[in-house]
Symmetry: C2
DNA sequence: TGCCTAATTTGATATGGATCAAAAAGCGCG
DNA sequence: CGCGCTTTTTGATCCATATCAAATTAGGCA
């Protein structure tokens, strides 16, 4: 069982390509578990007991106001990891993690991770890299929410998917989550998201069929996303 | 010179209490410099050459849309450090760092930091801690912007200042930056910020004199800030 | 000390996006 | 393959906050 868990760990970028010994030791302190749609993995305000790796399925990290308005901070897929920040600062969870489809997770206990961190320099470097990445990405998310209009956020979301897929050929991307989740993540209502998609279709930038989006005018979409051209700002488009 | 620089480094939480040797080696790869109000330390899109420690003065980290709208992501004071994320992910700066008052900075070269990271386990741990902290705080900022109304954001801003000062006695806090900078950081126009401050004054929660704010009704202010009580959620109020 | 410019406040108006209500489309499942 | 629940779309209205314009106040410095 540990054997296979060690292999599962490498799904996450953070643990990929670490030494077999390190992986084994981490796997020993890891527990696999399954959550069904709607199950809460941890809740805002709870103590952080460890970090998680998504083996399969989708989850959301979200916050809810006292009035009951929910905002999806992050949408997670296979290979993502989460829960590190609260773990390492030894503070309470700021977000609630909920399964949005059935999903399998690995939980790595706080102690296991901290101990291993002292053993393995490379793991420390990896963790530093992961945290920096997340910070960088979150800054970029912040930028989206604050500086772009709703249309821009939607356009950018679609555009990013196109790049992530590495599909230089295909101009079709799949929306990886239910639309209302994406809407919340983009800080807008489902209604507004729907209308925005319709508007982008009407001006001929995209075509939508269910959860599939065909990009008709890549350049114009990039424009709508407010992204600078490669020449201006090579990497930052992310 | 290096001697004094090593001492200056300890201003930053991230370097505080490290071994003298580590500090000396870091100081060797560090350069002090002075910026006048309005000077740009680094610009969005630029390559990250190292990280910075604020020895004195104030700076802002901001982003600007193509239309020229600026948003202040972060306001920095003595003892803060910045520039780590882009440095460690080896990507381009997402934000522009600008001096808002005359300020003294220490710049630690990329190579120096990376090399020292391999030497000193404790530094690695510290860096992990700092990054996690920043991530945690940024999540909290995100929450402010997304979940709170303008009044709530202002109330929370004032409330945080009160706690940071550790002033259990005094109910007076100083706004540490120009109001228009704070407004932008809270994602609102200067006009709206001004009106909000006036509204909070009118309902008797605070009193404003220039850059000074007296808090009249602490509990009601906390309420307006949308913060949960200690019993409900101890640490997360931050 | 008083001038000049930058910062803040006040007032009037405009708007992006939210909200509420209801119809239409998907979809799991017996 | 059709029933019932969930998700998405469409339509009508409303509100928080932005924008524009102008008056007032504060600060740096000659």
């Amino acid at each position: 069982m540990d054997q296979s868990q060690a292999r599962l760990l490498t799904k996450a970028a953070i643990f990929d390509q670490l030494s077999a010994q390190t992986l084994d030791r981490l796997a020993e302190g890891a527990t696999g578990s399954v959550f069904r749609r709607g199950n809460v993995v941890f809740a805002r305000g709870g103590t952080a007991t460890g970090m998680y790796v998504v083996v399969s399925g989708n989850l959301k990290l979200s916050q809810v106001t006292r009035e009951g308005v929910e905002h999806v901070m992050e949408l997670l897929q296979e290979g993502d990891s989460f829960g590190e920040a609260a773990l390492l600062t030894n503070r309470l969870h700021l977000v609630t993690a909920t399964a949005v489809t059935e999903c399998k997770l690995l939980h790595i206990r706080r102690q296991t991770l901290l101990a291993e961190l002292d053993h393995d320099q490379e793991l420390a470097r990896r963790l530093i890299g992961t945290l920096s990445d997340r910070l960088y990405r979150q800054t970029s998310d912040m930028e989206n929410v604050l500086l772009l209009t709703a249309t821009g956020r939607v356009a950018r979301f679609i555009f990013r998917r196109l790049k992530d897929n590495g599909s230089k050929i295909s101009r079709r991307v799949a929306l990886p989550f239910r639309k209302c989740l994406i809407a919340s993540h983009l800080n807008m209502t489902p209604e507004h998201f729907s209308r925005t998609l319709r508007d982008l279709t009407m001006i001929g930038l995209i075509k939508v069929q269910g959860g599939m989006v065909d990009i008709i005018e890549v350049d114009k979409l990039r424009d709508a996303a407010g992204l600078m051209r490669a020449a201006e700002f090579a990497h930052a488009a992310e």
